[in-house]
């Protein structure tokens, strides 16, 4: 299996499962253990769901691009959408008492909780990219 694997998926909910399957295959193929695979599975599902729903807003003409890389320090995943982007700081903290009963807004918390590094950037040609790293 190559060091870097790239997939491009349509902006549909089914892409979440497809991305998770790809992540699982890649991580297992590169010798990552169950604990790490659970974290990666959760993070990829949340990030791709965000890209499909909030980024691309289910647009037929916008895809989600995913890159898996087996780096020395761990497994890196990049998920990119082609929406209008957003500022992570604007997402309310779902653990604040006033937000506990909100039905959404927990995906980023999960990504941050289970991955060792999570950062967002706005590529020059539009959209939003999240880069996540899970250390070995």
């Amino acid at each position: 299996m190559s060091e870097t694997h790239y997939i491009e998926l349509p902006s549909v909910i089914e892409s979440v499962e497809e991305a998770a399957i790809s992540a699982d295959e890649y991580a297992r193929g590169h010798g990552f253990g169950d604990e790490i695979i659970f974290a990666i599975d959760l993070a990829i599902r949340e990030s791709v769901a965000n890209a499909v729903k909030h980024g691309n807003k289910f647009a037929d003409d916008k895809s989600v691009q995913i890159t898996f890389s087996d780096l020395e320090e761990g497994l890196e995943i990049k998920v990119r959408d082609f929406g209008s982007g957003f500022s992570v700081e604007e997402i309310p903290d779902p653990t604040n008492p006033e937000n506990l009963l909100k039905t959404d807004g927990r995906g980023i918390l999960f990504m941050r909780s289970f991955m060792d590094e999570v950062e967002w950037s706005n590529p020059d040609d539009g959209g939003l990219e999240v880069r996540m790293l899970k250390r070995r």
């Binding site: 949340e46 653990t95 506990l100």
Partner: protein, 115 residues
């Protein structure tokens, strides 16, 4: 094939929903929502969700648990959780929702708590 199977049982006036599978974005979350809304429509508002068979839940599924909790409460009822796996317990702890939900390890204790 659906991601989730929901089986309904009655124990006195408490409706127990045994969930098997995944409560995730899409079908899993929708199935839970539909079932809860139907029970409320039938006047069943004491609901125990048995999550022992749920191998996976994502943020959308957690959101659906919260939505179910508030919908039941709004109808004057109570929704409680039974048999959380360690992973689900971890997710509820991270989101601080263990402070919101009443959770039980065994069915008898859960049922008696409704009295």
């Amino acid at each position: 094939m659906s991601d989730i199977t929901i089986t309904e049982r009655q124990a006195g006036d408490v409706t127990i929903l045994d969930l098997q599978g995944k409560v995730t974005i899409g079908e899993g979350s929708v199935a839970l929502r539909t079932t809860i809304r139907r029970l409320l429509g039938e006047g069943k508002n004491k609901i125990l969700l048995n999550l022992g068979g749920v191998g996976y839940i994502d943020s959308s599924g957690i959101g659906e648990l919260v939505s179910s909790f508030t919908a039941v409460k709004k109808e004057g009822g109570v929704l409680k959780l039974l048999s959380l796996t360690q992973k689900i317990q971890d997710l509820l702890a991270i989101t601080k929702l263990l402070t919101v939900f009443d959770t039980y390890d065994d069915e008898a204790s859960a049922l008696s708590s409704y009295n």
